[in-house]
Structure formats: C-alpha cells, structure tokens
Amino acid sequence: MKKAAALLLALVMCMSILLPVSALAETDVQKAIAEAAKMSWDELLAKAKEEIGDNKFMIYSNTSQIEENTFTEKTGIAFEDRLPTDSEVYEVLTQEVGNGVYGADVYLLQDCFMLTNLAIASGWLENYMPEEYKDVINEEDQNPLAAIYLNRVFIYNDGGDKEAKPYKNVWQFTEPEFKGTEFKNPMTEKSSLNFLISMTSEKWQAKLAEAYKNYYGKEWVSTGEFQNISYEWIYKFLMNCSFVAKDSTIAKDIAEGAKGSVGLFVFSKLRSVDATNLTVCANDGIEGFAGLMYPIYAQVAANAKYPYTACLYINYLLSEEGYGKIWGSKMGTYSVNNNVTVSENAKTYGDQPLSFWKDCLVFEDPAHVQNVYFEALDLINEWCASKK
C-alpha cells in the first residue's frame, strides 16, 4: 500500500511540474546551418563527426525509404528513425519543438500548407540549402528545401491490350460510366487534398476547360453551382470515385481487377504487384492531367541536437549517390537534383523523368494552396462526407 501511495504522490508531483528542456539555443542551430551550407562534404562530415561522437541522431520521416545502411556505411554515423504519418508529424512538432523539447534532428515531411503556416511560421524548422547544389536544384524547391518528389498517377488495367487506350480525357473519371476510380480519401491523405486544391488554380482551370471542350465538344459554361470548372471536376470526381484506405490496396485491386478498372495511386506501389496488365494513363497521352506530384521536404529541427549531422544527412539525400542508393532503382520517386536521371528499371514500368511529369501532373502549388486553402478544404470535406 505504501508503494502505491508513493507512486501516487510521485505522479501528482510530476504532473504539476513543467520541465521545458531545450537543447541548443535557436541561434546556434541557425548558425550551424548557415556554416554548413557553405561547407564541402568532407568539411561537413568532419564537423558532424566531431559534434555527434558515438551518439545517434534522430530522423522523423514521412517515408520509410530512408536508408539505414548506406548513410551509416558511408559516414559511420548512425541514426534512429520514427515514422509519424503526414499529419501526425505536425502534432509531434507542436508538442516537441513547440514546447522546446528535443525530439529529432531531421524532418522529412509533406504538406506545403502546414509546413509554411505552422512549422516554419512558428520557427520550429530551419531550412538548409547547401550552396554546392544551388545550380542543380530549381529555385522553387530550395526554400523550403524539397528532397524528393513523389507522384500519384492514374493507372488502369489494360487486360493485356496495350493499344486500347481507354482513358483519353480526365473528364472521363467524372462520368457515371467510369464510376469507381479508386482513390485515397483526401481528408486523410494530405497529398490528395493539396492536389485537389492546387487544381483550382487558373492554370489548371484552363487545362480542364480545354479538355472539357475536347471531350464534350462544347465550351464549359458555369451553371452557378460551382465556383469554377475545377470545382465542378472535383465534385463530380469525388462523387464518382471510390475511397480505398491504402495505396497498396489500390495497386492490388487494379492489378487483379477487371479490364478497365482504374485508380489514382502512388506510382511506386507498382513494384509490389504484378504490373503486367497495368498501364500509366500519362503514357497514353491523357488530356487534362494524369495525376499529381508532391514534394517531400527535408528540414532541420530548430532545436536539433546535431545540426551539422542533420545537414550532412540532407546533403546526402540531395547527392546523386545518396538518391541512387536509396531510391535509385524505384519508379515514382524523383530527386530534385537535376543531374539525377530516371533509372532503367523504373522506365520498364513506364516511368519518365521529372520534366515529363511537369506538363501532365498537377504539382503541389504552395502559393495557390495558401490562398484558397480553407474554403476549398471545407467544400471538399463536405463533399467527401456526402458521397453516396
């Protein structure tokens, strides 16, 4: 009984005491990042080794593909990782960095809106952009720094017939005739959500209008029901599609499904199914767009314990070697480093270089998302919930 009472007392005491612990002062991390940005790989490696000693640094990653062996093999620096999902990571950031508690050094995360408005605006994450890559990374990817791009594309089951090309226009997916496109619920999948929001920009309104004209043979005229043509597509698509929980499930469903069944899912999942009968719509030259593309950002925690090491790791991700070892042979993963090309293996699945996708995929559009986020979010949420 005494023990129980003691435990109780301890608990009461603990709960009432706040113990904010901060690792390095904010400025130190910023200083380290600024220095690191100018260093060469070897200089940075030396600095990181000095800083970390035998300790491990921590990565919170949205993707599990981060490599354990190759970075450690190359540098002798070990790390641990945690895999909070796209939205969990912001809860973690709020609780940890927001409270000055050290959690991780490197964050690999998605969702431009949350990143900018929550994490960066609050000063929880710091951007590291090595000068050596300034010329090979597009400017829009430099701040915040994106490490890789991932895509979700319309893929269908061709039933063995590679010439049929049943999907020629993105408006088809809104027609009852083609009901049941498998898609991850945008309310739980941030890249899906941002895709729909990004699509409402003028650029994609124009593309959709053109595709509309070609498909229906007439100009799109607003019925007043929707703000613009993009919203009409979104509404009709949401009503027409079928929500499936996981990308791997969609891939499996389509691979084993009937001829003509189609899904909008992560390209890289193709590797886990029998892809013989799968065709990527983009390669058939679909009108409108063929899917979406979104970046995975790499950031240093504002309270990182090992800022140099964090920079070293991000530097590694940007390098041809690093990308090659981690993602090199996979389809659907693209380095922001323009020197990196799509692997031969990926090409056999119908993969294309980033430049190809720029024209036919809706890229996450931070500026536009920023402008219309809340209105669009509420509409989409309501439409999703009212699906029949």
């Binding site: 593909q65 973690v92 609780q95 940890e96």
Partner: protein, 608 residues
C-alpha cells in the same frame, strides 16, 4: 479552556481513530487508492480533451480568422469548434447516425453469435467443445481489419468496384450485390464477429457460474426450452449482456480500420472516419476533440444505463457457486449438423485468415501461386528486388526479432500490471458494492475505453513533453498501455469478484489468513479462469495495438510500428508474415498459459 482543549483532542483522537479503522480494512485502502489514481489518470486526459475542444490552436485560429473574420489567436477560448461541427449535417450528424446504427447492429450480432456459442458450449453436449472454444476467440486475437480483408477477398466480384474476382465468384460464379461487399452491412457484421468472443467470454462466464438448478427449476415447471431461455437464462445473464453491449458498442463507435476497409469504398462514413479526417488536419483538430467528447458521452451514457440496470433492486448476485450437476441438453441428431456448420463458420472467420496470411507471405507475385517461395521467411541475406531495405527473411531479421521482443515485453508488463489492478479493483468494488466510491472507481476504470486510441496517444505525447524523463521510454508505453487496457481487466475482475460471496473471504479471515494470503490462496484460485482472462485480454490487445503507441515510440521498437513500416514499404509478404507471427505468438501464449495454469481466455467458459 482546558476542558475544551481536551474535547478538541478527543475529537481529533476520534477522527484519527475513525480514519485508522477505515483504512485498516484492505478494501477501503484499495478503493481510495484507486479512486485517487484513476481520477488523476483519467481526469487528466479528459481535461486535455475538453481544453483542446475549447481553445484554438495556431492553425485553427487561422482557419476561423479566414472563414469567419474572427480575431482569434493561439490559445484563445472559443466555442466555434462546437458550433462548426454540430451545425454540420453532412460531416457530423450523418456519420453519427451511421456510427450509432453500425454499433447497434454490431452489438446485436456479437450477442447473437457469441451468446449462441456460449449457450452451445455451456449448456449442450455439442462435440469438440474444447476445440471450438479455443478457435472461437481467434477473431478477437486477430486485428479486426483482417476479417474485413477476408470479407473483401471472399465477396468482391466483377460487378463491384474495380472488379477484383473474389473467392466466391471464382468458385461458384455467384456475384453478391454491392451492399454485401461494402457498406454498413459488412462493417456491422465484421465488427460483430470480431467482438463476438467478448460476448462469449462474458455471457459464457455467467452461464458457467450460474446455478443450473435455476434452469432446472423451470424445466420441472414444464417450461419449454425457449421460454426458459427467454424468462430465466437471458434475464440472469442480462448484466453480462449489458457489459457486452457496452464494450462492443463503444469499441465499434471508435473503430476505424474496418469502416475504412469495407465501409468507405461503399460510401459509408462513420464518426470515427470523420474524426480521423478532422483530427489529421491541424486546422480542424479542435472539432475532432468535440467529436471525441461526443464519443465519450455516448460511452458514459451506456455506462450509466449499465450501472442503473445492475444496481436495480433485483440483485443478480445470488448466483450461487457452480452447480456440480449440469445436465447438458442433448442435441442428438442436430449435433452433427450444428457441429459442421460451426466448423465451417469458424474455419472462415478464424482459420482462413491465418492460412491466407501464411500464403500471402510466401508468394512472390501477388495472386500468382506459381511463385511460391519461402525466401521472405528464410532468406539469410537481404531479400532485395522490390523489397529493398527490407533486410533478411523474417526468421533471420534482427529488426523483426527486436521489435517482436519489444512488443512481447511491453504486453507482458502491461498485462501483469493491468490484470493485477483489475483484480484489486474488482475486489474493492465488490466489497464496497453500493457505495459511491465503488461506483466512481468502476466508472473511472472504464473511462479510458471511451477515448479513441488516436487521441489517447496524442494526450500522452503532450504529457511526455512536460515530463521529459518519460520521453521515449518503455515506462511511458507501459503507463499508456496500462491505462488504456485497464477497462478490460477491471470488468472481468469486477464481474468475477461480484460472483464470490463475501463469506468465502470471511471464512478465510476467521482462520486468521492475512489479506495477501486470502487473495492468493482463496479468492484467486476460485475465480482463476476469469482472472487470468483479465491478464490475457490486455496482452492480446496490447500485442496488436498500433495507433495508441505510434506517436510515442520509434518505428523499430514494437512489432506493430515495424509492421506499418513494412506496410508503407509495400512489402506485403513481410507484413503478412509479421501479422501471422503476431497471431501465432498470441495463440502460443494462450496455449502455454492454458497448459501451465489450466486457464485460458476461453477456458473460463467452455472447453473441457
């Protein structure tokens, strides 16, 4: 002056004496300790939920400021979360209605399936009792979504969705309509079957301990079987039925995976899917907490009905000890038919998923059985191919073994703590039956059940950022697991303690047995099987829990977090293999406990 001082001292003395004598009774000490402990451990999360629902976060402020032109800033008090959510027909009321329907159906199904099964096992001479009884709990041991997956694999057909041809169609050419494959029907059914073992354990336990004379008395009075069931058996197992409804209803309300697997594709959305949608967006998180409150309120309401019902004048506690002379109903010719039907159903819901896990972990290309291989289990080198970085085969994969051990260790510790607390709570509540404190403790002990795992994990993440010594430690996981699973153990502990009359303990008091000795040598052995199920249930649940722990630990620490890693990497063979491992380990533990102690999850009710 002196006199009043004396009386003052005397009063103090009397008070001290009263306090001292109150605490000299073990049950009093326990009830007070647990009341305080539970108040802290449950009120804190509740307080967090309430606070989060009424204050705006940074992103919520941005949302309201943009949409409603308010001038809120982070941390401000607001009722906008309530307003936005409760005024929305589509995102709140409809899913709520769906949730309620689904939970009600699931409860009915669980009771019908589990109750019928319990009746067959405890009251008839059906064959293979032991086997049936141990297999029947498989659906609960396995994560609920496995059954959803099986459902889909069996009933999917070319007329529905992407047109994947399921087993039924490929075998018989039969295409079931879409509502059978996706929607409220499969959701309710899968949840009902998943929780049917609950019904079996609770109802069967009461049936086992119920004096068979009660039914025989009615038989002698020429009642038909059906009338006895209706008028005697069911009313007497009513408390167990209510407990089952309480658990199944709240669990189903909070269940997420199954509605996502077989509900959403049929455009069937429930509160939990909606909750997750809101929760996973920092701009709508507050509304998710409002939803959590709604979930909790429903739970509290059920709990209230339950307490009101069992607290009524007609006491059910006169269920006297076991009757030695249970005469089984002779099924006669029906025996074979019922056994076969039962065997087929059990095969489908319990054995088939395991076989399919095993198969899926052994084929290289999904659906292509000519690519059978054992490399995902036995390869000593990295598997390679598309399973890049997956490491060696499961049996030689250091990460998997580390994570597995992590899960087993956590589950063992959690179940030991929780099971023991459950018995102690049961003891204290049973001895102090009818007092306010007992009601408080049994209510509070159930409370963690009502908070969705997702929110529970987030609350303790916040706790750990304040109590930094807890961060990332096993201790934190243990505390969270222990609180979350306490309801299971305290239910089973209370139920079994309630069935023991106080005299049994008093008999031991008379001969001078100390309190620990009375617990260990008298009370525990009598209700051993149901107590041990109080240990096993948290173990099982903890072994396969993900959402509770995912925010609190590294991906390699627990087998479930590692499983989601393999899932994310889309190495389906490995994830299926790991699932199989989890199920097998739980079965082995159940089996070992059975062999060593003679008790098991199911044993208390059937078998033998």
């Amino acid at each position: 002056m002196k006199k009043s001082e004396e009386t003052g001292q005397k009063r103090l003395g009397n008070l001290l004496y009263a306090v001292k004598s109150y605490f000299s009774v073990q049950a009093n000490v326990l009830i007070v300790v647990f009341a305080v402990l539970l108040l802290i451990l449950t009120v804190y999360p509740m307080f967090s939920v309430l606070r989060s629902s009424m204050t705006v976060g940074k992103m919520e402020a941005m949302r309201y400021n943009t949409l409603f032109h308010t001038k809120l800033s982070e941390g401000d008090f607001t009722l906008l979360n309530f307003q936005s959510l409760l005024s929305n027909q589509v995102t709140f009321w409809k899913p709520l209605w769906n949730s309620l329907r689904m939970s009600a159906y699931a409860s009915i199904i669980a009771i019908l399936v589990g109750g019928t099964f319990a009746f067959l096992i405890t009251r008839t001479d059906i064959s293979f009792k032991k086997f049936f009884s141990s297999v029947f709990i498989f659906p609960y041991i396995m994560p609920s979504w496995t059954l959803a997956l099986v459902w889909k694999n069996v009933f999917a057909n070319s007329q529905v969705g992407s047109g994947v041809v399921g087993m039924l169609e490929s075998l018989t050419g039969l295409c079931v309509p879409g509502w059978v494959v996706y929607g409220i029907f499969p959701c309710s059914l899968v949840m009902g079957i998943h929780y049917a073992p609950f019904a079996y354990i609770l109802i069967g336990g009461t049936l086992r301990n119920m004096d068979a004379n009660l039914e025989e008395a009615a038989t002698i009075l020429q009642s038909s079987r059906w009338r006895i069931l209706r008028k005697i058996t069911i009313p007497i197992v009513m408390p167990a039925l209510f407990s089952t409804v309480l658990l199944v209803f709240s669990s189903t309300m909070a269940s997420y995976a199954v509605p996502v697997f077989v509900g959403s594709p049929g455009n069937f959305f429930v509160l939990s899917t909606q909750l997750s949608a809101l929760y996973n967006n920092m701009t709508t998180k507050g509304q998710a907490f409002v939803m959590t409150i709604v979930l909790i309120l429903f739970g509290v309401m059920l709990l209230g009905i339950n307490t009101w019902f069992t607290g009524k004048r007609k006491s059910f506690t006169t269920v006297t000890g076991k009757s030695g002379q249970v005469s089984y109903i002779k099924l006669g010719k029906a025996n074979a038919v019922i056994s076969v039907v039962l065997a087929v159903v059990l095969f489908l819901i319990a054995i088939f998923p395991i076989i399919s896990f095993a198969l899926e972990s052994m084929i290289d290309s999904h659906g292509n059985y000519s690519t059978l291989t054992l490399k995902y289990w036995l390869s000593r080198e990295d598997i390679g191919g598309f399973a890049v970085n997956a490491g060696p085969g499961i049996l030689f994969n250091g990460r998997i073994w580390t994570a597995l051990w992590g899960s087993i260790r956590l589950s063992l510790i959690v179940s030991l703590i929780v099971g023991t607390c459950g018995i102690l709570i049961g003891y204290a509540v049973a001895r102090k039956r009818g007092t306010k404190l007992a009601g408080l403790v049994s209510g509070l002990a159930f409370f963690p059940y009502l908070v969705p795992s997702m929110a529970f994990g987030a609350i303790f993440l916040a706790v750990s950022t304040r109590l930094t010594f807890l961060r990332g430690t096993l201790l934190l996981l243990i505390i969270v697991g222990a609180i979350k699973y306490l309801p299971f153990a305290s239910r089973s502990g209370t139920n079994s303690m309630m069935q023991l009359s106080g005299e049994i303990e008093e008999a031991a008091v008379i001969v001078g047995a100390s309190w620990p000795k009375r617990m260990l040598r008298v009370l525990f052995p009598i209700q051993k099987s149901s107590f041990i199920s109080g240990y096993l249930l948290p173990f099982v649940s903890c072994m396969r829990e993900l959402s509770l722990f995912v925010l609190l630990t590294n991906s390699g620490t627990l087998i479930t977090t590692l499983l989601s890693y393999f899932d994310e990497k889309a190495v389906a063979q490995m994830s299926n293999g790991i699932n199989l491992l989890i199920v097998i380990i739980v079965l082995i533990v159940n089996f070992t406990v059975n062999k060593l102690t003679g008790a098991s999850i199911d044993k208390g009710v059937g078998g033998n």
